[in-house]
Amino acid sequence: MSNWLQGMPTAEAYEMNKVLFELHHRPDDLEAFRVNPDQYLNRFSLTDPVRRAILGNDVAALYLAGANPYLLRAHCIGMKIPEAVSVGALKRLAGEH
């Protein structure tokens, strides 16, 4: 048992975490993402599954791809994803394993 899915983030996870970080820290990024999410994500080198996970607010997929827990949590609150949806998606993963 470990608190950390990835002891060291993969390069793919780094780029995904960069999106989660920049969205909520750079002044105009959240607005740019809301206006045109596809265009915003073109700023980053994302794999297709990660891109789809971000666009679809797929919290379980973001977790499995190695999202830092604090960046993912802040993203869920910042994007106003309901608690039942975000926490529920994660808990369903526990049931699958």
């Binding site: 608190n3 975490n17 909520h24 959240l30 830092n68 827990p69 802040a74 910042g78 994660l90 993963l93």
Partner: protein
Amino acid sequence: MADIVSIMACSHTPVMLNFPDAVPQPEREEIFGHFHRLGQAIAAAKPQALVVVCDDHVHNFFLNNLPAFCIGAAPTYKSPVEHWLKADKRVLPGDAQLGAYLLNAVMASGFDPALSMELTLDHGVLTPLVLAHVSGQLPIVPILVNCVQPPLPSMKRCFDFGVALGDAIRAYPGLDRITILASGGLSHDLSTPRMGMVNDEFDREFLRCLEAGDSTEAIRFASQHVHEAGNGAEEVRMWLMAFGAARAAPFQTHFYRAVPSWYTGIGLGEWRR
């Protein structure tokens, strides 16, 4: 030479501010009452500065540059950094001189914290200050510990850093009275399939080690069992740092309860002098 007039510790979570209603009113008021009393105890000891030991939740630091330890040396700190945190934006007074002194002093003791002259502090620092009603009342020195992204500094390293920090504060010629507040933990887990888990048994045993003044056992227990208590429990590093600053004096728990509705084991207390 400064007197460390009090050393306190408390849990923090942004949901206390963002989703207070997740916990029924009587229980919420009881917990907030304990935070308020913590603030009253801080004020009663009449410190001239407050050293806040906390973690940065990937706001000031990202994976491109992530210090294990960082000491702030700025005259002011904006807070909160989270656009989503339900707390008014403010500027907290800082003690840049004390921050710079502590950096130099712990460096001389063999530790290597990063320097920051500009931090926008997050809920970890702000939530306890707000709930304790001491936000803006005292100049602060933030000391940030990486508990949020491995590789993490070891539990022992955090305790030892705390010992050096306490010695440095006691030798500070610039002020007479200083308080230390550790903010973090206890058990909780975020953004994993275990989210919502609170490990009451872990928390109570960790607190028991602190109450016994047993640093060896506290470090051993935290190191061996933190993975049973969730990624948020990595924040017990702040408690160990304060324990070190207290020279392993016995801890007095004022309050503890597992509060799953806030996803967190909520504890508050102080080290006996």
